[in-house]
């Protein structure tokens, strides 16, 4: 309960702090929507008469905006400049600060990106089944958790290397290719599709988008939950090892 209250305070603080950087947040919105927009144009050129393509990619854009994570900037930089020490000395879990900032940025991106999603939807005359959209909510929540865990996990490598941006960049490429942004999973060649359905990346983007778009009736929450448990375990192991290795600036 105490942690939830602390998280609420932190979230409020971060939302207010980021409100002054709305222009920079807009550039982050553009960054988030470019890859799905390219996918939308490419696959619409391949299947010009299939409205499901546009519906799916509009959903992917929204899912991407709602699940973006930047821990390689917000958290790893604290390891590099030593200010992680401040967080370690506070009588609260370090994760409270990281999650608070993550949720604040996502809230701003969703708010600022909503007009783009709306305009794209109107321009392409995309119609959604709102029951399917409602059904996608639990999948979206788990996708948000998965993306955070994946990015945070890769950001923890900052304890060992100063090339965390390269590591997270590699992770993003995997999400792009196997997550359903480069192509809807159903359009991948058979072998690749089978691999993509097992890896966690599909659960980060493609699965909730497919359910919201109505191209898939139901999915397996269990598949996402299993990956959440696995990633939480790996994050905890890496966090403990990383903190043991961490040496504060000046010591």
């Amino acid at each position: 309960m105490r942690t939830a209250v602390l998280l609420g305070f932190r979230l409020r603080q971060e939302v207010l702090e980021w409100s002054g950087a709305w222009w920079f947040l807009m550039t982050l919105v553009v960054q988030a929507v470019v890859a799905p927009l390219i996918g939308l144009f490419v696959w619409s050129a391949v299947y010009p008469d299939d409205p499901a393509i546009a519906r799916y990619y509009v959903a992917v854009i929204l899912v991407t905006l709602m699940t973006e994570s930047f821990e390689q900037h917000t958290f790893s930089e604290r390891i590099y400049n030593g200010t992680l020490s401040h967080e370690l000395l506070r009588p609260q879990p370090v994760a409270v600060g990281v999650i608070g900032m993550n949720l604040a940025i996502r809230a701003w991106l969703t708010l600022l990106g909503a007009p783009i999603v709306l305009l794209t939807g109107i321009a392409l005359q995309v119609g959604f089944d709102w029951w399917a959209v409602a059904r996608s909510t639990p999948y979206l929540v788990l996708a948000a958790v998965l993306v955070f865990l994946w990015t945070f996990l890769l950001s923890l490598t900052a304890f060992w290397t100063d090339r965390v941006h390269a590591v997270v960049g590699f992770g993003s490429q995997l999400v792009f290719l196997f997550g359903g942004t480069a192509a809807p999973i159903g359009l991948l060649p058979d072998g690749l599709r089978r691999v993509a359905e097992v890896l966690p990346f599909y659960g980060m983007s493609g699965l909730p988008a497919e359910i919201a778009a109505g191209t898939r009736g139901d999915g397996s929450l269990g598949y996402q939950l299993v990956w959440v448990v696995v990633l939480v375990g790996v994050v905890m192991v890496l966090w403990r090892a990383g903190v043991r290795r961490y040496t504060a600036v000046g010591s």
């Binding site: 222009w23 550039t27 960054q31 060649p189």
Partner: protein
Amino acid sequence: MKLLRLLAAGFSMSLRRSVAFRVNLVFDVLLAFTGLGTAIAAVLIVFTRADTLAGWSKAEFLVLIGTYQLITGLRTTFIDPNLSWFPETGIREGKLDGYLLQPAPSLFLSSLSLSSPLQLIQVVLGVGVLAWGIGVADRSPGAAGVMSWLVLVVAGTVVTWALSVLLACLAFWAPKLQLDVFYHSAWQLGRYPTDVFARPLRILLTYVFPMALIASVPSTALLRGPQFGVLLAGVAAAAGAAALAALAWRAGLRRYTGATS
């Protein structure tokens, strides 16, 4: 000539700094490989479902990706280390003040004096993909096509430099405006032919933010033969963009009063 010697000296110093961190070399090479691999895979997936995309064949797409990668490599090697995050590093942290005191043109020092030699791996990989594309193309490019591709790649590189300078110049008027993320996101659109995009975006990418000149136009010239009008337009665009960048820089400097003022 003096500027070329300065460029060579800057590159040499950057190279010596870079090779001191060999693990970084491994990371950069791996990331360049995976980044390019992902881009190619995304396109090859499309070609498992279609023979052509917006009138472009697989070979043409590979040539386009190779050209895009080559110019991106040149940008990340020679331009980004100088002009990335310029409002913060150049203006607010005062690096520009140091350049203004040195006996060389401030535009050259601010935009080309530093480099990231390890990023040249992207150029090498780009050339590799280009060769792959040419190898699987139905017909080999002619001498005229190769020449016009070369001219247009140089023009594309100049436009890239000019766009980066123009973006940096905005900092003289709005030092808090940080558009690097936006610029690098929009850059991704150059990896695909402009024919793929909807008409408004296509016009934007051809005339306003000329990403078409980066890869689409040179690739078309290489495989489909040169067009004199396009060649002329490319060279004119490069000259115009460079002149505009130099003018904007001069106007910005007249307005600039120092990092702390």
